[in-house]
Symmetry: C2
Subunit: 454 residues, 2 copies
Amino acid sequence: MEVTRTLARYVIESRYADIPGKVKHEAARSFLNWVGCAVGASRHETVECALAALAEFSGPAQATVLGRGERLDIMQAALMNGITSHTFDFDDTHLKTVIHPSGPVASAILALAERTPVSGEDFLHAFILGVEVECRIGNAVYPEHYNVGWHITGTAGVFGAAAAAGRLLGLDEQQMVWAFGIAATQSAGLREMFGTMCKPFHPGNAARNGLLAALLAQKNFTSSSQGIEAKRGFAHVLSTGFRPEEITAGLGKTFELSLNTYKPFACGIVEHPAIDGCIQLRNEHKLKAEDIESIALKAHPLVLELTGKKTPQTGLEGKFSVYHSSAVAIIYGAAGEAEYSDAVVREARVVALRDRVSAAVEPGVHEDQVHVTIRLKDGRTLEKYVEHAVGSLGKPMSDAALESKFRAFSEGILSQAESDRLIRLCWTIAGLKDAGEVARASVPASAAGKRKAS
Amino acid sequence: MEVTRTLARYVIESRYADIPGKVKHEAARSFLNWVGCAVGASRHETVECALAALAEFSGPAQATVLGRGERLDIMQAALMNGITSHTFDFDDTHLKTVIHPSGPVASAILALAERTPVSGEDFLHAFILGVEVECRIGNAVYPEHYNVGWHITGTAGVFGAAAAAGRLLGLDEQQMVWAFGIAATQSAGLREMFGTMCKPFHPGNAARNGLLAALLAQKNFTSSSQGIEAKRGFAHVLSTGFRPEEITAGLGKTFELSLNTYKPFACGIVEHPAIDGCIQLRNEHKLKAEDIESIALKAHPLVLELTGKKTPQTGLEGKFSVYHSSAVAIIYGAAGEAEYSDAVVREARVVALRDRVSAAVEPGVHEDQVHVTIRLKDGRTLEKYVEHAVGSLGKPMSDAALESKFRAFSEGILSQAESDRLIRLCWTIAGLKDAGEVARASVPASAAGKRKAS
């Protein structure tokens, strides 16, 4: 079966009108979430390091580093935005493959869209196709490929970036085939790097190299025509299992974007039900920490095993404490990056409430479930059973929740009005004349005009 | 065993004075051969495509594309020179691993040396260390890694480039460890790409990405500290076999550059004994094609199996014809790129002589051996037994032969005086105040001053 060619043909022949409205909306949700993550981490040490190392070598000021003033050549901008969008590990997740789909794809084509303006419709279409390509390739080799030790967001992401960029560049079929080959021969990224700056480097690198693949193919730089399926191609060399039909079956009929999910909270997914339950009770009953006598959780064993840290001392340790997470859920009604700062973890009222949280294993409670019982000082008892934690496929984050998550990221970087405008542009991306407007709108007035990292 | 750290420590602590003179001379030989290959292919379609795609995105005009007028940022220059130097597949070969060692390493650091001038001594030292790193990593995983389907020049080359660039950038031990980690997580390149433009792209990409690794590490961009040996690090993920002691044993005592070889002829290595034998007889007896009645070869079976094409029609087919190769050896006394042009393959006197060549399998003749019997029209018979073909470790190309090879490449690109000067600079690299002088000297006066590919 001609896997690479079949996929290439689909990418160049797909028509925007044939894509279901729900998929288009999910694409806008993924894109909004991605922009927020990138803006939110735009001041992080990881991107500061990368900019300090590389800005000197940038070509023309073609494209925006989201949330910042620097404008870099498109290859470097793709790298930087891929890095920032994954720095908090808070971007979207295709749970079937644990690919973070938006980073490689959106980073590549938003940069490209600033060099050669494209309509929002063409942009969103290319984004959908890029995500489709990377997730289908992921489906064809997951879990074997991941188990070998590959960080699939990097290894599959480079194909997604090549597909989306190639679509916008107007590659013909053979050029798209070559783009996939050039992507295949750059596919890289090791799980060994988790916990270091190289983890967010992977989607950045996938974006940069996928874009490179499409640009080279556009000039007829040749490659194998079976880059994915050949005996010495991507799938057989980088995986011990390969199901090519996962790539080719139902192309244009099913869309992997429908399976995309968004994390509401900046911590391990096993804590999400408890946080969800506490926030619900807080909002329903206008709870304040001082009203609460105790919080009791009945949860899945993994919650205690992975996040049972009773007295966290740092922000990072706070992420591994379901006690801390429940306390901030009540006090702040949120569990974003801000609630896992060192300062918040040490805040007196957070510590005081945290010490009144208990957790026990309850047989029969699933991983995305929890029972929360809050005893109030006035004697009342409040109960909440969470059947599917928010953010799971069973209870996806609402559009409004995605907006709130975005605002938590952009606060302190963008003004309220700037956030409003950027959110609106993301939601209405399909109607924009020039998709690159989103990138430029991510730059606060205060930072605009900076050329390079100093 | 701390493989990555041990290797990093060696690279930063090595002293030039401790490296044997023979190794330094071999480094100069490798470098001369590499510069020649790069200049020779500097007008090839492969690099024209790459420049057409990428020059637009180049940063400052920091570094030379060898043999051409363009000056690009160092990352792009490293990519281009890595591509050109491997385009003819005529660069050096570490036969133990089939790595082409110079491409990734020299491409990275010659570009770097034009941005931050370094002495020729420091340059040659970094080159030696880079080759040592990539070949030792290759030794530790060859042949299993190659058999999986990896193009080892790309996958190991990125470490060599990182090591050499990191040495010149003055990385400390931890930074060098990180540079190896960042290299590991970019290690890529599939054998599936052989026969396409992606093959020479691999050393170019290794140079570009190894340089990137060193530059990021210099700014404390973090990575794993066991990028090579960890359970999910380079060796275990990209190979089914790993012998870490091949990396760490005898560091600073043995040098892989001593095992480097250079191809004298632009075709498959199995034809080299026949070409060698024919050229020797030609030169010893001042033979002309019209004096020759017939040429009979007794050779290893692989010669007929791989290069048994009786009536080649194109230059590329000529490379797979021991008959054509023997004919040009007599007529031109050479078998370089020029002798494998379409025109030469169709030349009447070449075709006429080719048809008088026969080849037979002879039991007991090894792969780098041949018996050549030439019957002359005057009745005489000439014999030559080649025990080790020129270019093998048993009979390395002489310095003079490397110079001739260089001149065959530079002819038509550089003037005689320009070639003379460039050759002299390569031989005397260790004494140069500014190693970047070599790069600038590779540009013919006629091409100097061009900024970008048009």
